[in-house]
């Protein structure tokens, strides 16, 4: 019997190695797997490269990993969001590296890896500072820059419901980066509010199909 549910968040993040690239889903504070980020902190992996839209909030989750010096590099589109003091201090101390990318370039690079493609040409950032150093090609009279696929060793996903196969549903705008990050990592770990019986999720409503999911853990009130 396939059962991807694990008992604890520690089980969920077990085996994450130093130097891993970790895809951290969410937009601002919405749709972020904070329990898994805390578990990753406990687990102790270091020298992490984090791919996220923002750079963490307050002193929990991603911010806590940064405060503890576990993060070597952040790839994101908008670090200046909410209380990002943990990131700001590390940035000013030059203890971590920032790679700034346009938001749609981050998501498309991950989708590209998930799709088994070797990269794509995008008009976004062509002729700007963020496009400098990238291969440029004129396509139909318009400048494009070459973007490589972006792969995660681990993805930390926040969903609403899962079944034991790992089919996932989300709530409203908490979907955001979760489905694309779930597709783009070697190990996709999901925290959910609730497990349901196989067959209980409306097949039309499954936003991440089980094939992309490796481990599921229940957090919050239902845990």
């Amino acid at each position: 019997m396939i059962d991807k549910q694990v008992k604890t968040t520690a089980d969920a993040v077990a085996g994450v190695r130093d130097g891993s690239t970790v895809l951290v889903a969410g937009f601002g504070m919405v749709g972020v797997a904070d329990h898994l980020l805390d578990a990753l902190h406990e687990q102790g992996a270091r020298e992490l490269t984090i791919v996220a839209n923002n750079s963490g909030n307050g002193d929990h989750g991603l911010a806590r990993l940064i405060i503890s010096g576990r993060v070597r590099k952040v790839i994101c589109s908008f670090p200046r969001s909410g209380d990002y003091s943990a990131f700001l201090n590390a940035y000013r101390a030059r203890s971590l590296e920032l790679e700034l990318l346009p938001q749609g370039t981050i998501s498309e690079r991950m989708r590209c890896h998930a799709a088994g493609l070797g990269g794509f040409f995008s008009p976004v950032s062509a002729g700007t500072k963020l496009g400098e150093g990238k291969e440029v090609r004129e396509i139909d009279g318009r400048l494009h820059v070459f973007e490589k696929p972006l792969k995660g060793d681990v993805a930390l996903i926040k969903a609403n419901k899962a079944d034991r196969w790992g089919n996932l549903t989300y709530i409203k705008s908490a979907r955001n980066f979760n489905p694309v990050m779930a597709m783009a990592a070697d190990l996709t770990v999901v925290e959910v509010d609730q497990m349901v019986e196989l067959g209980e999720l409306d097949p039309e409503a499954v936003a991440t199909p089980s094939i992309f999911v490796d481990r599921v853990v229940v957090v919050g009130a239902q845990a």
């Binding site: 937009f27 589109s77 940035y91 938001q103 062509a126 963020l130 409203k172 955001n176 980066f177 489905p179």
Partner: protein
């Protein structure tokens, strides 16, 4: 001669949103435009974090933790609205599916170059978010901005001084003094506020302006009436 308020600028930009348009509104003044779409026109708003059919701000006490806009403020969904994931949301933005992207700006150049993502303040990390995607993808890129900076310096320039968001993208500029179109013939003034002359406007603008033969007075309501949610 009274420059437009933020609400009046947003109102003016909203008059150009047409029935059936799919529109992304940037953070700041552009966001206000949603309230001033003329009654009877159905316009569908997109938010970069995967909302198609975004509604107005929620009433106090009705905030939904799962509903935020691009600025991470609480928002709502209209009937008919739906959600997409981030890669599809930016496919919508990048792929030319939006009719209008209405953005804020620090500077715009005479050929429509846009600078709206960084002032290169060394004390803070830069952030680009969806700005570069929004500046290349929509069928029409329009900008709302104060005509001049805090010290009266022009912000419509021959060449932008800040790093570009995208070259050659802006088609129309709504300022607190005028509505200006970026055309192959140069910047063309479509509207000016009452009492403004081309000479006076030119003094506040670096590149050459020409006046459209059919130019009009830019005269929004004194206090634009927001549409009921």
């Amino acid at each position: 001669m009274i420059p437009l308020t933020r609400e009046q600028m947003a109102w003016r930009a909203a008059q150009d949103l047409m029935e059936g348009d799919y529109v992304n509104l940037g953070i700041g003044i552009p966001t206000l435009a949603a309230s001033f779409v003329p009654a009877g026109r159905e316009v569908i708003f997109h938010s970069e974090n995967g909302i198609l059919g975004m509604g107005p701000k929620p009433e106090p006490g009705k905030e939904d933790p799962y509903m935020v806009d691009a600025g991470k403020n609480k928002t709502t969904l209209v009937a008919g609205g739906c959600f997409v994931h981030h890669a599809d949301s930016f496919l919508i933005i990048r792929g030319g599916h939006l009719d209008v992207s209405l953005l804020g700006a620090f500077e715009v150049s005479e050929n429509g170059d846009l600078a709206n993502w960084t002032t290169e303040d060394p004390a803070f990390p830069p952030g680009v978010g969806g700005a570069m995607d929004l500046a290349v993808g929509a069928r029409a890129i329009r900008v709302i901005m104060d005509h001049t900076g805090k010290r009266g310096e022009p912000r419509i320039l021959k060449r932008c001084s800040y790093p570009l968001t995208a070259p050659n993208c802006v088609k129309r500029i709504y300022t607190n003094l005028a509505v200006i179109d970026v055309t192959p013939q140069g910047l063309t003034v479509a509207e000016m506020i009452a009492g403004m002359t081309l000479e006076k406007l030119q003094a506040l603008t670096e590149p050459s302006l020409r006046l459209a033969p059919d130019w009009q007075v830019l005269a929004p309501p004194e206090v634009p009436k927001a549409r009921a949610a």
